[in-house]
């Protein structure tokens, strides 16, 4: 079990806009090297939580600790304006602050996006965009990757390839991953720990434990508990 200082620790984190409570007293910690999946129905506050972690959503209550000097890598769900702004992939990566073209090329190739440097961002397919976004996030050698629904809009093979790549990169770099996801099967196979969010944290723990939790079954239905994937991370997990 990783015993280092948490990268991020949230204690009774609440976010309100007007009278609406988007997040209600959420507590959890992300340890170095951990892979955590955040699941929950639409409107559960997943994106709000991500924004609070990144710092673009003001926190109404509670505390959020970041390990000093924490380096974040982040991939947005999509780039809403990419249709309007002409930009080549290599330039997009360079905007992270990386000046060395060779390093940029290397990272793109590592993420399976080699040869795309000269392509326009707006011409990329969904899977290519996610690879480019991942390459940019990794350019900063992050301690923690925050991925907002990285496989949304990908077909099954592209999705499988993306998760395989993510697994390889975790194995190589030991980066921690905090990922919003919809596809429960992949979550079950890929995560050390799952947090199920619905305004508050309804359950969390190893994928196996969460799948059997009554509040999870209530949210996602019985069939979701029958995920056929096996995971091999029991020894890394703790229930909180």
């Amino acid at each position: 079990m990783p015993t280092n200082t948490p990268l991020i620790r949230a204690e009774n984190l609440s976010v309100k806009t007007g009278r609406r409570v988007l997040l209600d007293a959420v507590s959890f910690a992300i340890l170095p090297g951990e892979a955590i999946s955040l699941i929950g129905p639409n409107g559960a506050g997943k994106t709000t939580l991500i924004r609070a972690l990144i710092g673009t959503m003001p926190i109404s209550d509670g505390t959020l600790f970041r390990r000093p000097g924490l380096r974040l890598g982040y991939t947005p769900q999509k780039l809403p304006l990419e249709q309007l702004i002409p930009m080549q992939v290599d330039r997009f990566i360079a905007l992270s602050g990386e000046r060395d073209k060779a390093r940029r090329r290397e990272m793109l190739a590592r993420c399976g996006a080699g040869g795309l440097q000269a392509a326009q961002m707006m011409d990329l397919s969904g899977g290519e965009t996610q690879r480019v976004l991942l390459a940019r996030a990794l350019m900063r050698q992050p301690d923690l990757l925050i991925l907002d629904e990285p496989t949304q809009g990908l077909d099954q093979p592209a999705e499988a390839r993306f998760y395989q790549l993510l697994g390889e990169i975790r194995a190589e770099t030991g980066v921690a991953v905090f990922m919003v996801s919809h596809d429960l099967h992949m979550v079950m196979a890929q995560s050390d720990r799952v947090i199920c969010l619905n305004g508050h944290i309804c359950c969390s723990g190893t994928p196996g434990m969460v799948a059997r939790d009554p509040s999870y079954i209530e949210l996602f239905g019985q069939c979701a508990g029958l995920a056929p994937y096996r995971h091999h991370h029991h020894e890394h997990c703790d229930h909180d």
Partner: protein
């Protein structure tokens, strides 16, 4: 022989086209055309208030346009309405309030047509100096914050996650726009300030493969529009500001036909 007033108008217009290029691209990329309108329309109120307080109009325009730009920026963050609704409300409310205030304030006489449509042909040497200096400030500020401006355009969340300051980006963008409004109002009038920003940029978009190329193309198209519009105004005795925009619109229509050659 070219008349001196035409030379002055051309010089002022070219300066504005140059400054409008990076700002206009940002406005187009960020889908913020209404934001330009809101800031521009606030200028009329600025003129009216400045005249009633006996201060130079540019001071009034600068203050009111800045206040408007900041108010809009921080009002669209929260609230129940879509951003374009809020911006539309601000833009048209500002124009209407300006028209009412200009009419009822005692001792204020505003040439409405000139304020709304501009009068580039009467621009003076000292006004050109102000445009050049103010334009230099805008261009230097945008150049200084350019990487941040591009990142915030692509994804504010991504920028924040990488440690950038969204507040700084917003201040740079909104205040530059407010200064631009104050500088260009005399030339194209407050109704067409947004047009001066977005038409050349929109015309350049199909031709460019990088953000900076698009800015350069925009500056070029803006300059051609200024010269073409002045020529058209001279030949046909048409109002100069609208003529510039008509030429820009014609170029937009032409480049829209450009075959899409961006694919790898």
């Amino acid at each position: 022989m070219i008349e001196p007033f035409l030379l002055k108008a051309a010089l002022a217009g070219l300066l504005i086209a140059l400054v409008a290029a990076p700002l206009g691209c940002l406005v187009v990329w960020r889908r913020m055309a209404y934001f330009g309108d809101a800031t521009g329309h606030a200028a009329l109120l600025g003129v009216a208030l400045a005249l009633s307080l006996s201060v130079p109009p540019i001071i009034g325009v600068l203050s009111i346009a800045s206040a408007m730009a900041l108010a809009v920026t921080f009002a669209t963050r929260r609230g129940v309405f879509a951003a374009d609704t809020v911006l539309g409300v601000f833009a048209h409310a500002a124009l209407a309030i300006g028209l009412v205030v200009a009419a009822v304030l005692p001792g204020v006489r505003i040439n409405l047509i000139e304020t709304l449509l501009g009068d580039i042909l009467t621009v003076s040497g000292s006004e050109i100096m102000v445009i050049a200096l103010g334009g230099l400030v805008i261009l230097a500020t945008l150049a200084y914050g350019w990487r941040g401006l591009l990142n915030a355009t692509l994804s504010p969340e991504l920028m924040a996650a990488e440690g950038g300051s969204l507040t700084r980006d917003k201040l740079i963008f909104t205040l530059s726009l407010a200064v631009f409004v104050a500088l260009s109002m005399k030339l194209v009038g407050i109704l067409l300030i947004t047009a001066m920003l977005i038409l050349p940029a929109a015309a350049a978009a199909p031709l460019a493969r990088s953000p900076e190329r698009m800015v350069m193309m925009t500056a070029l198209i803006g300059s051609v529009s200024v010269l073409g519009g002045l020529w058209m105004s001279w030949e046909m005795d048409s109002p100069a500001g609208p003529s510039i925009i008509v030429v820009a619109a014609a170029i937009f229509a032409l480049t829209g036909l450009w075959p899409k050659t961006r694919n790898r």
